[in-house]
Amino acid sequence: MNKRGFHKWLLLLALLLFAAVPATAVVNVQCPGDTNGDAVINGSGDPAHPNAQCMHLAAGDGFVTMADGYPQYMFGFADITGTPPKKALDVGTLAATFPAPPITLDEGDEFFLSLTNVGMLMRPDLFDPHTVHWHGFPEAASVFDGVPDSSISINMGSTLTYYYNVVEPGTYMYHCHVEATEHMQMGMLGNLYVRPAQDGTTLEYPAGSGKTYNKFAYNDGDGSTGYDVDFPIQIGSFDSAFHDASLTVQPLPFAMMRDNYPMLNGRGYPDTVQVAGPDAPPEANPVSGNSTQPESSLVTAAPGQRVLLRISNLNVTRFYTLQTLGVSMQVVGKDASIHRGPDGKDLYYMTNSVVLGGGESLDAIIEIPESATAGTTYFLYTSNLNYLSNNEEDFGGMMTEIRVN
């Protein structure tokens, strides 16, 4: 073949290659009442969907910093709600946060969740699709369940909008289900909870106590899940060898996976109790400027207040036990359900420790003693004591504080 002929073939090959790129790939947010595609409802919204809630998540990659200063590459989600569709890929790239942006909804909402796959900037060799699995969604349809084997996953450069009619309140969680062992170890995990329709009504609990509540974990009918303040606490842990292998494009150690960075809401102690300021992790993402570990796990409450802990576990390697020191927990919900028998019998129980495997959630209420003074600190920590560590740093890990204010 002469040189000219070779070029002709090369040109043909290039044409074929470009023709193979899907021409339809497009950021396409579906949100009733949103007129400009940024997932924010404009004006009074769509009268056909008065309870619509919209969110736009980018699925991609990013970096976080462990409590001992060690940087970790991760896959994750970023909240790009409000971003014009033309800028979605730019804003969403390398913007992943850990945990994933929290999703909070009200019973009765219609939730339109648009997921745009922005690709993994640090792993251009990967063409992974992504999904959102609303873990625990009751009476789910498989098309919106996010399991790649059962349904559809979104390829890079495009958007899939999930629809959820939100009927059951409770503490759920969400994660990507594509190549679940890998994508979940890599950090595509987040908090998700639904407030009950009972919120806004005022109930006295216990009866005759004079204490009233207007926020509840569930539609309990008697105020027994009433609380003053609530905090989502998501258990997670990273295996740094796995993350490092991913960043350096090495074979992934599935069998040898052993997590060495135990965390609550994406941070190890003492980062878990940082709220803001120069000590708070992480350094901002070098590209987007956004914080990549924005969620503090510091629990604050006043004497006599009831604190609802929405505890979930999305680590992929083991069971963890969380223990309280100084105050007890009353478990009122399990797996996004009020903990009651079919005839309404309370199965609530008092405990100082809860055991959760991956994919389990619990609602636990802590009552701060009336006698507690401001500045009193209680602890919430794992009693799997070797996990009170940030890798080789033996003071840290899966722990946070409950401070009386």
């Binding site: 009476e139 059962s150 599935f254 992929v316 390697t317 399990k334 028998g341 959760l356």
Partner: protein
């Protein structure tokens, strides 16, 4: 798009039945095992054999082999051992012989009044000595008990359990209540339409290789710290790793792993899940699709007083499976409250059985992306609607001939979705909501 099932339409059903016959996907809607009523006599021999794993591996096992060959596998050892299914009050007699190079026995946690004859006394129960061809007749130990309480139970070796259970000397016992078929316990609220067993276990492949090459008493095994450094690499449902869990029971290519694990049901039915912690690790068993209600544990209904029924039952979407523990729970699914018609009906179409009427005729509120923008799963029918097949690119789909809704049921310790470093696999199966009218064997 093509509707697969319409009531009063026989042709598509026959077509689908044919597809099912040809498909390697499919298992029975009941629990497979050795079924007996009133009296049950099992003749078992502990034997050495191998199982196969989907990564192409082969692992040495010790298993209870059924001398009467119910599984039609040449009386080979199985992993786990035979599932014994009896009715409450059945007098169970098990005659155990031993072909293993180590002593063996059987214990029955949760059963009362187990008596033994023959063999020699061990720490927990009578044991059959290690195989010795010079000893004639072959030693036999007989274990007898009355299965007095309904529920799900485990049995396993009572001899050198730290190695024996790892090697596969364990199995399940299902005791049905006097109340009759279709109940988990003696109460109407424990009714179910279909039942499935989820016998969860794990293996540390290194132990099996050391036993195979050097024997159970080798110093190499002892020096491997196989107890303190236990590190599992395979995870099983009913003795199989995904995707072998999808295959039917008793398939010829898995002679030592006879039990499938592909649960299927129609909308509106009640499925009894019997979850058994058969190994030595905890597993968070997550079932996509809906909550289940936990009605019993260790063969005891969660009731506050006799006659109350499962009034202490609670809802769960991830059930902790603890070693040695059994959990009975009822799973239901109707698609209630989705906010759109999951059949894709027009408003004037008739309702399907158990369809949630308020959503009838409501269109799906979002448009799905173009084919080119999507990756497809093997269980995706090409359509978001139950019982409808949509168009898929060549080579996609194909594992879901009835266009059911499919849900992953799996260990949520996602590390356990691997077969010795190979993803995907492990402790995972799919549950299929079949459209009304689709046959479930």
């Amino acid at each position: 798009m093509k509707k697969l099932f319409r009531r009063h339409t026989g042709v598509p059903i026959a077509f689908a039945a044919l597809l099912l016959l040809l498909s390697p996907i499919g298992t029975d809607a009941a629990i497979d095992g050795i079924v007996a009523a009133n009296t049950a006599t099992l003749n078992l021999t502990a034997k050495v054999d191998h199982i196969s794993t989907p990564d192409g591996g082969s692992m040495l096992i010790w298993g209870y082999a059924d001398d009467d060959n119910h599984a039609n596998n040449g009386s080979r050892a199985t992993y786990p051992g035979p599932t014994l299914i009896v009715t409450q009050g059945t007098s169970v007699t098990i005659n155990l012989k031993n072909n293993l190079p180590v002593p063996v026995s059987m214990v029955f946690p949760g059963q009362q009044g187990v008596s033994t004859s023959g063999g020699f006394p061990g720490l927990l129960t009578a044991e059959v000595p290690a195989y010795d061809p010079a000893v004639i007749p072959e030693p036999v130990v007989t274990y007898s008990f009355i299965a007095s309480e309904p529920g799900t139970y485990i049995y396993h070796t009572g001899t050198r359990q730290e190695l024996g259970i790892e090697m596969g000397l364990m199995g399940a016992i299902v005791v049905r209540p006097n109340m009759g078929a279709g109940y988990a316990y003696n109460h109407a609220d424990t009714q179910y339409d279909r039942e499935y067993l989820f016998f969860l276990s794990e293996m540390d492949g290194n132990i099996h290789q050391l036993v195979e090459i050097h024997g159970p008493d080798s110093t190499l095994l002892q020096e491997s710290d196989y107890l303190s450094d236990y590190f599992s690499t395979y995870w099983f449902i009913n003795g199989r790793n995904a995707p072998d869990t999808f295959s039917a029971s008793y398939v010829s290519w898995l002679p030592t792993q006879p039990y499938g694990g592909l649960p299927r049901m129609h909308p509106g039915e009640r499925m009894l899940m019997r979850i058994v912690g058969g190994g030595r690790d905890l597993h968070p068993f997550h079932f996509h699709g809906n909550h289940a209600r936990v009605i019993g544990m260790d063969g005891r209904m969660l009731e506050s007083a006799p006659g109350n029924g499962p009034d202490l039952s609670y809802k769960s979407f991830t059930t902790q499976s603890v070693p040695g523990k059994t959990v009975d729970q009822i799973f239901e699914w109707t698609g209630k409250g989705l906010g759109w018609d999951m059949y894709g009906h027009a408003a004037g179409d008739p309702l399907e059985p158990n369809e949630y009427a308020p959503d009838h005729g409501k269109p799906i509120p979002v448009a799905l992306p173009e084919t080119q923008d999507l990756a497809f799963g093997g269980f995706y029918s090409g359509s978001p609607y139950l019982g409808s097949l949509g168009s898929l690119p060549p080579g996609e789909g194909g594992l879901n001939p009835n266009a059911g809704f499919t849900y992953m049921w799996h260990s949520h310790t996602e590390k356990e979705l691997t077969n010795w470093d190979i993803f995907p696999g492990g402790m995972m199966t799919m549950m299929v909501i079949e459209p009304p009218g689709a046959p479930i064997p």
